[in-house]
Symmetry: C2
Subunit: 200 residues, 2 copies
DNA sequence: CTACGGCCATGACAGATGTCATGGCCTCGC
DNA sequence: GCGAGGCCATGACATCTGTCATGGCCGTAG
């Protein structure tokens, strides 16, 4: 019997998956969690065979939770996400997940992936893997991504400078460099672009 | 037997809900669709008793599809959404939906809502209804919302002016008025705010 | 060592953006 | 009719933003 913990902040999808998995004869859903922190706490206590983590969760997200669990609990982790961008996959793999599948897959496939991962194998959705291999890395430097992140909410240059402890001029230089590399006109477009590509 | 059509662009949630509903003895899932246009086409052909529409779908969304079907096919419509903002509920009700529930509800509740709606009753999630009644309307005029929409992608004032066939000065005036009403500093923050409140 | 590139900063400049005052046009409610 | 308010526009102004040139500091690859 494969003992599974499910973490997803959206009740409808989490309860639906849990109900479906409970129909499988060899799978037992032993816990449902709403965010990464709760998942880490419960997984530490119950040591499930497989953790099924949604990547997008408030507070500590699924990848963060995977990174923590990886070093403390002998459990295998499947990351599921709505935004299956190459950047997300790379981040998940760096955190040590054993399975990765987008929510564009059918619910019926989840049980099979869980079995694979529980059996010691890895599973990466082939579509996403191909995208990740074809896709070039972000042309932006780490610091430029910091600037983009700090300004993603429509913040002012002055606010970005203050949160990053930089001079406004430096921030403007980073922004200018970003826009040049991305062939865009405004910070906001750059932030949208970066978000869509999974860079931030 | 209640004949149901499900439309949701995310395969995992759609197939999961379909599988669960098929377990119900009195519900028959007769079709699954990926977007609003497909849903309208199929519903017109099959005339299901109840349509379960996700609001967020590419192209024609669930509310648009409901508005079209409402006038052409004798079917009842349940709207489901991740973003259960008052604005979304109002828009859905204006389109003539019979049921409205957020995805923060459990999957098990969906069957019950479908039964209610199939039985001629209406169903509005009480939490969302309470929010909608408590929430005041947008303080922005229609034209100001147009400006916000046109600039939501980080567009330039000049681009907004061009898409709305206005002078740049007029656009700036609208923006200034918006920022004043919302106590914000930049267009982008206003766009984010408006999106979160379901105004655009 | 040297060259290169990332990172930080400054200063000057052009152009974009937001504020304000003002005025015309139109519709709606009184 | 008259006032209020939405809508459009202009012009002037202050500020913000993005560009560019320049230079210093640091770590790494050659």
């Amino acid at each position: 019997m494969i003992r599974v913990l499910i973490a997803d902040d959206e009740d409808m999808i989490r309860t639906a998956l849990a109900a479906l998995l409970r129909l499988e004869p060899d799978i037992d859903v032993i816990a449902e969690c709403r965010d990464g922190a709760e998942a880490v706490e419960v997984a530490t206590r119950l040591t499930p065979d497989v953790c099924l983590f949604d990547v997008e969760m408030p507070g500590m997200d699924g990848v963060d939770a995977a990174a923590v669990l990886r070093r403390t609990v002998a459990t295998r982790i499947v990351a599921v996400t709505r935004h299956a961008r190459p950047g997300v996959l790379r981040r998940a793999l760096a955190a040590g997940v054993h399975g990765f599948m987008p929510k564009s897959r059918r619910a019926q496939d989840v049980a099979e992936v869980i079995r694979q991962v529980a059996g010691g194998r890895r599973y990466i959705d082939p579509e996403v893997a191909a995208d990740a291999l074809a896709d070039e890395r972000s042309p932006l430097t780490d610091r430029e991504l910091d600037v983009l992140r700090a300004g993603a909410g429509g913040e002012t240059i002055a606010q970005i400078a203050s949160t990053l402890h930089l001079s406004p001029g430096t921030v403007r230089n980073h922004v200018s460099s970003i826009l040049g590399k991305l062939h865009l006109r405004t910070r906001q477009q750059a932030a949208i672009e970066a978000r869509e590509r999974g860079w931030i």
